[in-house]
């Protein structure tokens, strides 16, 4: 629609202000969306990376990071349930890590038995992933600076016991400040030094096609625990971080604010442009322009602003994602997020043009006769 484009091009300053507003809104929405997606994925990543069919946890456990111990006998009970193929133990707990400098750092220690999944970080000795290296731990590259790790292997201490960082891994950075440290189950139990039971999760693989039956059977045998499928526990963990901690909510709110700020900026500018061109809309009506023609002019102005602003917002963000990832390792921008946010930006522009369209359509054509 050439008239819309010419109108925008005629008042370039206002056009610039509008597209800067949209670019800012789209930038903010994609950035906050990336934080939210990354946050949600990070919140459930240890769960998602296992090859478990079922997760068994103490009653009321809502997240991977905050679990409480299960009686050791539960391991044998679960192993004996019909339909259960394998059971692995996992422990998770906060402890202290002594840096090479001698300073202490609180860490979340995660220890798992071999066999819970090839993508779950456990310090295997060999490529066959059958046995674990003793006293070996893995640390995510994003936490390495916090833990003062330059080179591996590096000798450190956990809870006053000797350990070796044998490898630096990627993709398991902590999203809540306390670094994750991964090791084998036996070593983790030793490092944590809990009195009594140390297993916090039982990771179960069931016979093919018997997921729900096995879940019901385990729950019937152990009514005092929670039994979740992996997807259920993953969703529960995400919801916990989003709802209960407020962190996810805050990120979501910032994305919504980005949308609202953009909406207000675009609305004001498109409305101001419409008001400034009201006589021209009256002229269009006077010379017989149909309603859709006038709607199209306003809408196209809004969508042109939206398209240009969105592309600029995206172009401004993409080069920054790399450096941002250096600081916020868990930030995640899946392909659909920019696409989705650009669509949201265009919807924002359409919403912003509603008041302007109403105003343009309501103008009396007879006003053209006034000098």
């Amino acid at each position: 629609m050439w008239l819309a484009w010419r109108n925008l091009n005629h008042d370039r300053f206002r056009f610039l202000v509008t597209i800067v507003g949209i670019a800012f809104a789209v930038f903010l929405m994609i950035f906050q969306g990336s934080l939210l997606v990354g946050f949600l994925r990070a919140a459930s990543k240890p769960i998602d990376m296992t090859e478990a069919d079922l997760w068994i946890a103490a009653r009321g456990v809502e997240a991977f990071e905050f679990a409480s111990p299960l009686p050791e006998r539960f391991y044998d009970i679960v192993a004996g349930v019909e339909g259960v193929e394998t059971v692995h133990r996992m422990t998770v707990g906060f402890t202290f890590y002594q840096k090479p400098s001698g300073m202490q750092q609180s860490v979340l220690l995660v220890g798992a038995e071999p066999g819970i999944g090839s993508r779950f970080p456990v310090p295997y000795v060999d490529a066959m992933r059958t046995s674990l290296a003793p006293d070996a731990i893995l640390v995510d590259s994003s936490n390495a600076p916090t833990l003062l790790l330059d080179l591996v292997p590096a000798g450190i201490e956990i809870s006053g016991q000797r350990a070796r960082v044998v490898n630096i891994i990627d993709g398991f950075g902590s999203f809540f400040g306390t670094p994750f440290v991964f090791t084998g189950y036996e070593d983790a139990v030793r490092y944590l030094r809990w009195p009594g039971d140390a297993t916090v999760f039982l990771i179960v693989q069931v016979e093919p096609g018997s997921l729900q039956e096995a879940k019901r059977a385990v729950q019937a045998e152990l009514p005092e625990v929670d039994v979740w499928t992996r997807d259920e526990f993953s969703r529960r963990a995400r919801l916990f971080w989003v709802r209960k901690t407020g962190a996810g909510g805050a990120i979501l709110m910032a994305a919504v604010l980005g949308f609202l700020v953009g909406l207000v900026i675009v609305s004001q500018n498109i409305y101001a442009t419409t008001m400034e061109n009201l006589e021209e809309f009256a002229t269009l009506k006077a010379i017989g322009a149909r309603r859709w023609y006038i709607q199209k002019v306003v809408l196209m102005q809004a969508l042109a602003c939206g398209s240009v602003g969105s592309v600029i917002g995206l172009a401004a963000l993409l080069p920054l994602l790399g450096p941002i990832r250096g600081t916020i390792s868990w930030i995640d921008t899946p392909w659909w997020l920019p696409t989705g946010m650009i669509l949201v930006g265009l919807v924002m522009c359409v919403l912003a043009s509603v008041a302007s369209i109403r105003k343009a359509l309501a103008v009396e054509p007879g006003r053209v006769f006034r000098a």
Partner: protein
Amino acid sequence: MRETALTARQVNITYGAGTAAVPALRDVSLTFSPGCLALVMGPSGSGKTTLLSVLGCMLLPDQGDVHVRGQSVRALDEQRRGDLRRQNIGYVFQAFRLFRALSALDNVVLALDVAGESGRRARARAEEGLAAVGMAAKARLKPHELSGGEKQRVAIARALVNDPPIVLADEPTASLDWRAGEEIAIMLLRIAKERGKLVVVVTHDPRMTPFGQRIVKMEDGRVIEDMEAR
């Protein structure tokens, strides 16, 4: 019987209500035929512009009716009145009403675009229209780069580009100097005489009087005189 282009029958319009009611048109009945330059004259507040709004299908009368080439306006909704305007009437305004962001050529193309014609053919027709009013050389200029007379020529080209049988002009010479005003008056007379269009001009500019073939005088919303010019 001679064909009629535009008819107003017992048109009444009142602005406001109650004690604040101001009658703008009172029992106005007029019939206009094609090929005529009619001047509607009168002092300020006499109802000239209201009459033009009613004849131009932009304002519905409180009482009475307007017929455009036999079609009653009263029975039409806003959308259909717009269609009627687009197909039958070209407008020339005192304030020109050109689109600031568009060149002279694009202002004329716009009228074609509104009527559903676009592309090269529309541009060619718009160029012809501008050439007909002597504006071919300034087709690429924007309104702020044109003089008042030139703007009015572009406005006339826009009004004529869809070849409407009726042209309504509101004070087309009021903003122009003597020479430009006379040129526009001649142009409007030629449109009526040579192209057979009905041209109704609302004016209080005495310079227009020699060019009018019919002069309608108004006062207080009434037609007080309606005469053929010699």
